[in-house]
Amino acid sequence: MVLVLAIGDLNIPHRAPDLPPKFKSMLVPGKIQHIICTGNLCIKEVHDYFKTLCPDLHITRGEYDEDSRYPENKTLTIGQFKLGICHGHQVIPWGDLDSLAMVQRQLDVDILVTGHTHQFKAYKHEGGVVINPGSATGAYSSFTYDVNPSFVLMDIDGLRVVVYVYELIDGEVKVDKIDFKKTATAPSAH
């Protein structure tokens, strides 16, 4: 069991002051093995905070990030899965799942983690799975008027990944889960 936190688009301090307190109390150090961050943190304080949760931190660049040295995209292997990260402002049309699928093919990964739209998505297509953890702070987004703070926790176990999405709705944290299984050639959803 490997826990991977997928989180991003906090947009601190431009659009939001801080993570919601209920999220902060859930995210404790030592429980998570990897953090994947889609970008738009935007400041060093957030980077340092993530580092305290887990030293294995992977970040890609969002268009408002203070640190311009984050890469445009990144790939890594966790267990049996190849994961790719890309903020998504580079992929036009924004939020378009087919265009994102192309990026997934290009990076040759099973799971593509992306952001920018502040909308949670977990979408399975022929080539793999696209996950958008949404905005962890519920920051302003031009895509939707209704942004609930959210983040994703992936539990990677062999050929199976369970995606838990945590959403703060009306002050309460709601959890949902989706199962994905990888076959020899491609993942399929349950």
Partner: protein, 789 residues
């Protein structure tokens, strides 16, 4: 010095030897019931205590030896069957001892038995003893003697309910006795300060402090006397103790005894005698640390208040706060050279007190702050860092107590205190305030509170005269400004009118921040305003047209002005992003000309200000991405902007970037909505253009490096062909796709010396996708069927 201690050790050893020697003989006398001999040897033994050579610490050791022996003697005295002398006669007999000190020790010992025998009223014996002890005026010897008297008389005081109470003996007598012993002991103790060689003052004070508990013990005894109720404490005990405390005019004694009174007597009593107790404070020596005394008193009373809610009305009834407040004022006035840190520490204690006892009385809090302001105004420039720390403590206390900055913002004196801080401390305090807001997730929701808040944190918002911004470390400066940026999101009201006011106030304050601060604060302000716009949109249905002050256009004007200020920094990349956000917002409000204007500004910045190639790539993608989502534009405007976008895309520096930007532009001509543009031809034109660029890139790579270039570009373009093919763009044919696939294969094979595994995998998965679509069956399957692999 070493010699001194060595000598003392020697004398102590000699003294102890002397005691032991005489005790030996005394025991023999006791065993043989020989009173005469017992008296003789006990007197000799006690003579060892006549020494002046020992320090209090060592004298105590000697005293304890003697004390143990006296206990045995007392047992012997008590049993008149052993020596046959009545206690009355014994009392007279011991007075024949040669030297006064042994005489008095023996007298006290017998006196103890005398009282026990009840042959005379306790009061008379006690009075006799306490007066007789006057015969010893040497401080150390006298103190120990009287301590002995206190010790043995302790359980024989005519207290209420004690066996020694009677018609002739009352509690008052007991109290009188203890008070007199206390008074005499204090006098002796004070005299120590002035006697002896003009040695080191520190040494003397150390010796005195070793003896302080002997004096203090009397107060303990008083507190333990049952008959000393509030009435007696108020009328007799406290006044007389305080009289001695004040009159002795000794700072060591005064400090110790004031503190002792506070610690030893019940808090209930202190509340009821507050005026008297406090009245003594200004009369104390100026060198006495009266602020600590008062602080400890307030601490005790605070704890008392916290112990039970029943107690609180008492506090109100005795007007504790105002009495303490007045007392502190008097002390500060009286001690003109009290340093600032002392006065402020007192105010901190008083504030803590009122926050504990009367948390709802904000007027008290404001009053304390006001008194502090007054004190600070009299100081030309406060430079003491400890005093500064105390002021910070003073200002932080209400924040911590109320957990709600809004409460602190209502205190009229709060900003006035802050004004007296030096710039560095002012900023520190401003950060404390912001952190308190963030920690408590507080929301400040009215314009006037926001105004007060921003005045409080003005040290962070702009350069204050005399401050050197460069002095601050960059890290710290960033932290400061990011805190202000975060703070802006804590200011919110769901009434649009009020929210606009808040935004205007924040803008007013932050716009003068200067080029270093603007990049931090402008973004927060812009997004705040964008949120307000949404609020307004949400309410649109209800507004009855009278709200001319608040229209989306007004807010867009405000936004423009705010973003324009970034040109002073200059921050073109940020400004471009913000203009594009505004364009999307204008799109959402369906205001075409405003959206167009924002795009114009964005393009102008791109053309004139953004020169870095990497920045250009991101910027052009942001422009394309935003434009792709616009549905408010009419054909003309859309065309102009699209043309610009594609033009700039093709003119990026690197071929690969050009290619990608151009094929991104293809999406400008195809929007998947119901009414979206679907210009298949122009899509294809874009893709073909991208292909040409990719080809050129290939050729350049061949020439420059003699090897293949980015095959990946072709695969990307292929994917775009497939995308539009799938969406139903008639201009894109399956043969075109096939041709492209062949082209890619050719390129890859021709460059077998330099295999590009990434591009290989990409092509493979693309082909897999085509296969997958074929196998889907239905409409999609048919479509893809035409692509031959």
């Amino acid at each position: 010095m070493l010699n001194g201690t060595e000598d003392e050790e020697k004398w102590l050893a000699e003294g102890i030897a002397g005691i032991q020697h005489n005790a030996f003989y005394m025991h023999r006398a006791l065993d043989s019931n020989n009173l005469r001999e017992a008296l003789k040897y006990s007197a000799q033994m006690l003579s060892e205590l006549r020494t002046s050579k020992l320090s209090p610490h060592k004298y105590y050791e000697l005293y304890m030896r003697a004390f143990d022996e006296l206990k045995r003697l007392e047992l012997f005295f008590k049993d008149d069957s052993k020596h046959g002398v009545s206690v009355v006669d014994l009392y007279e007999l011991v007075q024949h001892a040669g030297n006064i000190l042994p005489r008095l020790y023996l007298l006290c010992t017998v006196g103890s038995i005398y009282i026990k025998s009840k042959e005379a009223p306790a009061k008379e014996v006690l009075k006799d003893l306490v007066e007789m002890c006057r015969g010893v005026q040497h401080p150390i010897r006298g103190l120990f003697l009287r301590s002995y008297l206190a010790q043995i008389s302790r359980d024989k005081l005519p207290d209420i309910g004690s066996e020694y109470e009677g018609d002739a003996d009352t509690v008052m007598d007991a109290v009188d006795f203890v008070l007199q012993n206390f008074t005499e002991m204090n006098k002796l103790w004070v005299r120590m300060q002035h006697q002896g060689p003009g040695g080191v003052r520190e040494k003397r004070e150390k010796e005195r402090s070793e003896l302080q508990d002997l004096v203090g013990k009397n107060l303990h005894v008083l507190s333990q006397i049952e008959g000393v109720d509030l009435e007696m404490y108020k009328e007799t005990v406290l006044p007389r103790v305080l009289e001695q405390v004040v009159n002795c005019k000794d700072d060591l004694a005064q400090y110790y005894l004031m503190d002792c009174i506070i610690q030893v007597f019940p808090d209930e009593y202190h509340l009821q005698t507050l005026e008297t107790l406090l009245g003594a404070c200004p009369q104390l020596q100026p060198t006495v640390d009266v602020k600590t005394v008062l602080s400890r008193l307030m601490d005790r009373l605070s704890n008392y208040a916290a112990s039970s809610a029943d107690v609180l009305p008492e506090f109100l009834q005795v007007e504790a706060f105002s009495k303490l407040s007045n007392a502190i004022g008097k002390v500060i006035e009286a001690q003109l050279d009290m340093p600032a840190v002392g006065a402020i520490t007192l105010y901190v204690s008083l504030l803590t007190f009122t926050l504990r006892v009367h948390p709802d009385r904000l007027d008290h809090v404001d009053q304390v702050l006001g008194a502090c302001v007054k004190k600070l105004s009299n100081i030309p420039k406060l430079e003491d860092s400890r005093a500064m720390k105390q002021v910070v403590a003073l200002l932080s206390a209400p924040l911590e107590k109320y957990n709600d900055i809004v409460t602190a913002l209502t205190l009229s004196n709060y900003p006035r205190v802050m004004d007296h801080l030096d710039i560095g401390t002012n900023k520190l305090m401003a950060m404390v305030i912001i952190q308190s807001i963030m920690k408590n997730n507080s929301c400040i929701s009215t314009a006037d509170k926001v105004e007060v808040l921003f005045k409080l944190i003005k040290g962070l918002i702009k350069d204050i005269d005399g401050a050197d911004v460069d002095e601050l470390e960059e890290e710290d400066f960033k932290e400061e400004q990011n805190s202000v940026a975060r703070l802006i999101h804590m200011l919110y009201n769901d009434e649009p009118e009020e929210m606009l006011k808040i935004i205007c106030i924040v803008r007013k304050h932050t716009m003068v921040g200067g080029p270093k601060r603007l990049p931090f604060t402008v973004s927060s302000l812009v997004f705040s305003a964008l949120r307000l716009l949404r609020q307004l949109q949400g309410q649109e249905g209800d507004i009855v047209g009278e709200e001319a002050s608040m229209t989306p256009n007004k807010i867009f004007q405000l936004l423009t002005q705010i973003i324009e200020s970034l040109s002073a920094v200059p921050s073109p990349e940020l400004a471009l992003r913000l203009y594009l956000q505004c364009a999307e917002a204008a799109n959402g409000c369906d205001i075409e000309h405003v959206a167009y204007e924002f795009f114009t500004q964005a393009f102008l910045l791109y053309e004139e200000e953004i020169a870095d190639s990497k920045a250009q790539v991101t910027a052009i993608h942001l422009i394309i991405g935003t434009l792709q989502r616009m549905n408010v534009f009419g054909v003309e405007n859309r065309d102009t902007l699209t043309h610009k976008a594609t033009g700039y895309s093709a003119r990026l520096l690197k071929k690969a970037d050009q290619c990608r930007a151009v094929y991104a532009c293809s999406h400008l001509f195809w929007v998947d909505d119901q009414d979206g543009i679907k210009d298949g031809e122009r899509v294809l034109l874009c893709l073909k253009r991208a292909l040409r660029i990719a080809n050129a890139a290939q050729q350049m790579a061949n020439v420059a490096r003699g090897s293949g270039g980015p095959v990946s570009l072709f695969v990307e373009i292929l994917n775009k062909y497939i995308y539009f093919f799938e969406k139903g763009n008639k201009q894109i044919t399956s043969s075109a796709i096939q041709g492209l696939i062949e082209l890619i294969n050719t390129e890859m094979q021709s460059d077998s010396t330099n295999p590009d595994s990434v591009a290989d995998a990409f092509l493979a998965s693309t082909l897999r996708y085509i296969q997958f679509q074929k196998q889907k069956g239905g409409v999609m399957g048919e479509k893809f069927e035409s692509i031959k692999l």
